[in-house]
Amino acid sequence: MNYVLKLIARNTLRHPLRTLLTVLGIVVAITAFGLLRTTVDAWYAGAEASSASRLVVRNKNSLTFPLPLYYGPKIRLIEGVESVSAAQWFAGIYIDKKNFFPQFAVDPHTYFALFPEFVIPPEQMKAFQLDRRGAIAGRKIVEKFGWKLGDQIPLIGTIYPGTWSFVLRGVYTGANSRTDETQFFLHWDNLNETLKKVAPDSANQVGIFLVGLKNAREAPLVAQRIDAQFRNSRAETLTETEKAFQLSFVAMTEAILLVIQAVSFLVIAIIMAVMANTMAMTARERRREYATLKALGFPVRFIAALIIGESLFIACAAGALGTWLIYPAAAYVGRRFGTIFPVFNVSDNTVIMALAATLLVGLVAAAGPALQASTVKVSEGFRAVG
């Protein structure tokens, strides 16, 4: 057996507790790093999953201002528009505030045609369309709350007062892993009819229009046409791709994301310092051995290989374990906070960065001690121990 490997392997196990603690530190750091990166990814997931071939039309002043319903047919006539549907933010509370999930009042006949990523069995779709009090919910919340088709689902209105009751008629699943499976849809008509009675001023209005395009490449052009159409009208519009629309939400919390990213790198920097300290301590204890090896005629690169090899060995073993643990950790967080982060997937990018960080930790930690051990004179190496 090669003596470099033999020495590295046995040196690693010389202080089992120290090695174990170092490994533990790296495992925790790399897993934490992966989780933080995944959190950032999850934040952008809505935007990532959203389509660039759909446009969102909203009130130019603010998202909280609605648009008149009659804009819909007008938009439909604009060149390049394939289809139009509307959605209204409902914001009801299911039993308790912490049970948050997004709810939209939509047109049951046009909305889902625009969203092929929501997969709904045809008979359920039909049942939903036929029942004015019907609702469709995503698989995740259905499982979370243990709903069954036909169940009554009460929501306490916040924007629209009163207790609303809906009947679960359909469950949608995502076409891919990036699809948000926590949304809840009800009939816009149902909402509007009630508003006509109790708050006529709020009736016949929608939050946003969703526009399907004939040609996705025309998105900017069509957006301009729509906004031009309603310029100088009672409610001017702001039209952008769904992706840009989603990103504008993320932008509001960009500062938090920056902090999370900074922390993720800080975690790596800290474990790097800890590991570097461990390696420095180890190398200091072994100065006499390194001096002996040098005296015996072993070249500087042999000693450097011992130090770098040990550091890399510890870092990589721990890093691999830490990276592997990102998956169950992310799965847990995804389950636990499914409604906050509807999509919580570990990306390839995160894994690559975690592994790269691991390698970096191993190399940086070894650099100082390896350089020191390589440059110190043999006679100094023997003297310095006391």
Binding site: Y3, K6, L7, R10, N11, R14, R288, E289, A291, T292, L293, K294, A295, L296, G297, F298, P299, V300, K377, V378, S379, F382
Partner: protein, 238 residues
């Protein structure tokens, strides 16, 4: 007789706090093949420094230093390392074995720097362990051996490559009387039967008595030379 070590007007000084401290001054010394030399002198007189220069782990400031006919002051760092692997066997006061390697592995270690095949390495290492009577401890780690045994392993490691000279810095300095005598017996027999050239730094007069030549260093200057007749025949190790 052939000179192994030729030293002429060798000087060495250390910098300490901006001050130049002369350690060796104008040393002239010649050693022949098969010599067993003891280097004595008070602490700080420069014994280790001189030994290190001869062994090629430190460089002189001026003067001539030839070992086996080669001017080793000309060598760069890596050439010198290679040269040491080939020509010098080291014995230290504190044994300096690799704690994670067994006795056998410690002895085999320097052979990995040679071109010997794996089988030859094994044979040489076994033979060297045999010479120091530790074949039965081949698989013991240094921590499982007594000081004297560890030093014997170190001696096996020093001679396994069949070096031109063996340098020993206070090889009995950390040992009790009985172990020390074992080590000295061993060195003496290496010198006698294998004709190994040995340079040994020591404070111990009993140790110095084993050498044929005793040189004294005082404040960096070589003083008297005490030569004793080189014992011939078998009597010396008995």
């Amino acid at each position: 007789m052939t000179a192994v070590v030729e030293i002429e007007h060798l000087s060495k000084a250390y910098q300490r706090g901006g001050q130049v401290v002369p350690v060796l001054q104008d040393i002239t010394l010649t050693l022949q093949i098969g010599d067993f030399v003891a280097l004595m002198g008070p602490s700080g007189s420069g014994k280790s420094t001189l030994l290190n220069l001869i062994a090629g782990i430190d460089a002189p400031d001026s003067g001539l230093l030839r070992v086996a006919g080669v001017d080793i002051t000309e060598f760069g760092e890596s050439e010198l390392a290679q040269w040491r692997a080939e020509h010098v066997g080291f014995i230290f006061q504190f044994y300096n074995l690799m704690p994670v390697l067994t006795a056998y592995e410690n002895v085999e270690l320097p052979l990995t720097l040679t071109h010997l095949s794996r089988r030859q390495r094994r044979e040489h290492a076994r033979l060297a362990l045999d010479l120091v009577s530790l074949s039965d401890r081949a698989d013991h780690y240094p921590s499982q051996l007594s000081g004297g045994q560890q030093q014997r392993v170190a001696i096996a490691r020093a001679l396994v490559t069949d070096p031109t000279l063996i340098v020993a810095d206070e090889p009995t300095g950390d040992l009790d009387r009985v172990s020390a005598r074992e080590i000295l017996d061993l060195l003496e027999s290496l010198n006698e039967s294998l004709r190994k050239t040995i340079i040994m730094v020591t404070h111990d007069h009993l140790a110095a008595e084993r050498a044929h030549i005793v040189r004294h260093l005082d404040k960096g200057v070589l003083t008297e030379q005490v030569d004793r007749p080189r014992p011939r025949g078998a009597g010396a190790t008995a």
